[in-house]
Symmetry: C2
Subunit: 344 residues, 2 copies
């Protein structure tokens, strides 16, 4: 018996000229999908998407170009990205109907994933499932690998985090505080700065948009210099940080969001500081660290359950609010991890 | 009995406006010096300078500014820099009259060094003494630390070296060849390129001044990308290299000579490649690695004696030729390690 066709709302990217995409560059359309895996399609899963993750890196694939290091989104097709989903049909030996998974899915209600290599089966469901788009998913692993593996932090060190109220930055800051570091974050609005100081336990925070001289701002917060910089933004901020790094400092290059869709990328001029101060600047992709995921969960789940770590989310309900959610993210107006909840 | 005053030729830096100093910015004058250590001056040595080392970093101290990481030269005073010298008087327990030493001395015939902390007593004199300004001195330690300690090279890897015919680059290239790497160098003249290919055993070399597109040039020599970049120049070259680095590449930041006295420093735009390709870019100062100096000598002295490594020098005779020697160095016209020999 043939199964019925079901409606399937999708979020598509329209053609857009340049810069970062905004709300009007996205459109929600309805197509149809059969709610069972087609004959002969082995090792596939059919999922109902629950939460979709709004991540800054998505803009890289929307723009195209030479940053395509994972299968990217293509214009006029549904966006590809991280999400939390429920398996409703499976021909894959590792997944069964009813499993809750997180990994790379598609921005639509139902998705047929033919090669679900990025999927993790979620075992711990006593914490919010949406956390698997954030602290328990890719941003969490990014914070963990980028801070502990790349920066080798030590108690008492000074740590600076840019885009500190974002999905990754807020986790790094709390890890650094738990380790006994002095932690300052920068963000782009008063609300975000308040959040960092009052809810996330940062020692201090500032609004970079209100500082006309970032070098002086950093000197104010770090009179003795910065040991560790968790780099999320690039450009002018990195230049100012380089002048304020201490001897044997470490810079973990997680992202450079200020440069992603900037048609005039800002050149960084103070790189010679790397030599004079013996700084190690290392980039990383979280995808190389997933062998540490079980170890990470073992560390972070108890911290969440005991309330020793907080995770701030900014949730939009319904795929029809996807365009405004993504527009908000790229404009930096979200506070905390931006998520679109597709179904409950 | 009071000792006689002796004439003491000195090389001084005149005031100069900006950019790199040239020959006319230096002047040789004659002062006088007593050839014995003054009463009450403990822990001092009086040396007769033999060879003086022309190093690109000297321009940093001539310019002043925030790069002063070792005691620097001051305008209108004799230049301070590395050299090979003979001890003619000593009140320091570690040095005796007649010892040959290398370390930081002054650009003059005789120097009273009150705190000779940087001096190493030369034990092996069967090799040219001038080598202690180069392969057996600071540039050698720089090559050794920067290549082995920072880059962790492996057999079969691809290595690119900028300013490859310079004091440090020529050593790094030969170390890399001895390790079984594929090695390409860039330099600024046909003569230097010939030297790299025909005398120093590089697999290939090119004149960066003849390439209007450095990215294409690097793609030609490294169709599969670069594992290790030994960075001596900065600016545009670094930007092109970043595009051509391989996954898990290493960049050792030794110097950025193109940027030292450039009043409009070129911004580096492709740093996001650090994240997408998991590149580690680490600066270093040779001064942190001198605990490895005995180990280094043990490795390199046999290679020199057996002719397995070559060191190209470009020697000017007499302090009166110091101004033209330094002018040549800063203009990049020297071929190999530039040295001024003061006395034999």
């Amino acid at each position: 018996m043939e199964s019925e066709l079901s409606n399937n709302k999708q979020l598509l990217l329209k053609n857009y000229a340049k810069g970062l995409p905004n709300e009007s560059d996205f459109v929600v359309k309805t197509s149809t999908i059969k709610l069972e895996i087609p004959e002969g399609c082995d090792d596939a899963v059919l999922v109902k998407n629950i939460h979709l993750s709004c991540d800054p890196y998505l803009s890289l694939f929307m723009k195209g170009g030479h940053f395509s290091f994972i299968p990217g989104s293509v214009r006029l097709q549904p966006i590809v990205g991280y999400g939390v989903s429920k398996v409703i049909d499976s021909t894959h030996p590792s997944f069964n109907k009813g499993d809750i998974v997180w990994g790379i899915t598609i921005w639509e209600e139902y998705s047929l994933i033919k090669s679900p290599r990025s999927f993790y089966k979620i075992q711990d469901t006593d914490v919010p499932l949406s956390y698997y788009t954030g602290i328990l998913g890719m941003p969490g692993m990014t914070a963990y690998a980028g801070f502990y593996e790349i920066c080798s932090p030590k108690e008492g060190e000074t740590v600076f985090i840019s885009a500190a109220a974002g999905a990754v930055g807020q986790i790094v800051g709390q890890f650094a505080k738990l380790m006994g570091c002095y932690v300052v974050g920068s963000a782009g609005s008063k609300d975000k700065v308040d959040l960092l100081k009052n809810k996330l336990g940062f020692d201090d925070a500032f609004n970079y948009k209100e500082e006309h001289d970032l070098n002086s701002a950093l000197k104010r917060y770090f009179p003795n210099g910065i040991d560790i910089y968790f780099e999320n933004v690039g450009g002018k901020m990195l230049d100012a940080v380089l002048l304020n790094m201490r001897l044997n400092g470490r810079i973990s290059v997680c992202g450079m969001i200020s440069q992603y869709n900037n048609d005039n990328v800002e050149g960084v001029k103070n790189l010679f500081c790397l030599a004079t101060k013996q700084i190690c600047m290392k980039g990383f992709a979280n995808s190389f660290y997933y062998h540490l995921y079980p170890k990470y969960l073992e560390m972070v789940l108890p911290l969440i359950r005991e309330g020793k770590i907080t995770y701030i989310e900014d949730i939009a309900e319904g795929l029809e609010n996807g365009p405004s959610a993504l527009g908000e993210l790229f404009a930096g107006h979200n506070i905390g991890k931006k998520i679109v909840t597709v179904s409950s």
